[in-house]
Amino acid sequence: MTIEEQLLAATAAVSGLTAERDDLRSTVEKMTVGVSAELESLKVEAASKDAKLAELTAALEVAVKESESLKALVVQHEAAKVSASKEAAKIVASVGVSPVELSPADGKPSAEAVDHMATFLSLPVGSKERNEYFAAHKHAIIKAAI
C-alpha cells in the first residue's frame, strides 16, 4: 500500500471514528438531559410528599388532642351523673320519701305504663291466659273499662 493509499484509509477511518464519536456524544448528551429531567421530577415529587406528610402529622396531632378532650368530657359527665343521682336522692330524702336505689329494673316500664285493658282484650277469648290475666289484673282492667 502506497502512502497515498494509507492516507486515504486513515482519513476514512478518522472520519468514521469522528462520526461514531459524535454519535456517542449525542447519545450521552441526550441521556444526561433525560436523567436530569427525571431527577428534577423525583425531587419535586419528594418535596410534595414531604409537604403531605407534614400536613397529615399536623392533622393527627389535632385528632389526638380532640380525642383527649372528649375523654375528659366523658369523665366529667360521668362524675356529673353520679352527683345528679346523689342530689336527686337528697331531694327525695328531704321531702320524706326514702331514696330508691337505682337498678337495672328502672329500665322496665312502670305498672302504670302497662295497658292492662289492651293486653286483656288482645288475648283470645276462652284462653287460659285471658282468664288468668283478668284474674291477676282485674282491678286495673275494670278501672280502665269506662
Partner: protein
Amino acid sequence: MANSIANAPAILAESVIASLKGKLPALRAFSSVFTAAESGAGKTVQVPLIGTSTATEFSTGGYLTQDDATITAANVTLKHFKVSSRFSPLDVKMYGAQFLSNAFVPTAANALAEKCLAEIGALITNANYSSNVDTGAALTYAEVVTAKGVLDAAKAAEPRAFILNPTYANGLLSDATIIGNSVLGAGILTSGQIGTLAGAAVYQWNSLPTNAENLAGFACGADAIAVASALPMSEIPGFEVANAVDADTGLGVQVLMGQEQSGYYNVTATLLFGAAVGRATSLHRLKTA
C-alpha cells in the same frame, strides 16, 4: 276515664264467667259439652256419655270391632237464659265500671247458676232415675258407702259425685266417722268442705229441689246426666256484645250492653244451657222419706 262503654261487656262477661264457674262446680260431675259456638234456643247438642270401656284381645277383626258398647250419647235441648239489669247513665258515669261490676256480676252469676241448676234438678225424679233409698233426716257416712255400692253394682262411670242439700251435707259434717278421723277431721272442721268421700266428690247444692218426691241428694256417675251449653247469636244495633269462656270447662257467657231510648244502660248476661237424662241406672236418689 274513657268515655265509651265499648270495653265494658268484655270485662263484665269475664267477671260473670269467673263467678258462674265457682257456683257450678257440680257440673264437673256430669257428661258435658260446653262450647262457645253460636247456637239458639231449641237446638240440640249431642253429648257423649262417659262410659266404662272394656279392652279385648286383638284378633282378626282388627280395630274395627267396637269394644265399648256402653258409650252412647244423649241429646240435650238448649234453653236460652238471660238476666238483664238497667243502670242510670249518671251512676255509670259517676262510679265507672267498678260500680257496674259490683252491682251486676254477682246478681247475674247467681241468677244464671240457679237457672242452670234448676234444669238439672228437675231431671232427678223417680221417672228418670228409679234407683233410690230412704236415708232419713240426716245422711251418714255408712249410707254414703252403701250408695257407692249401688253405683258400683250399676257400673256407673267415673268420676262420681254426691250432690246433697244443705241438711244432708251438714249431716255428713257432723258424722263422727268423718270429723273424728285424725286426717280428714281437722281440715273439714275448718273449711266445712268435705271434698272427696268414698271416691266421690261431695257438692252441696243449696237449692236442690225435692221434686215432691222427698229428694235430699243423689249419688251419680258421670254418665248419669248430660249437660250442654253454648252462646246465643246476639246482634242488637247500638249494643256492644262480648263473650267470655272459662278455659277449664268451656262454659261460656255472653254480655250485651247498650243504651235504651229511656237513657238507661241495659246490661244483659245470657247463655244457652240444657240438661238431659243420661244413663238412668248411674244415679241413685237419696230421699228423706
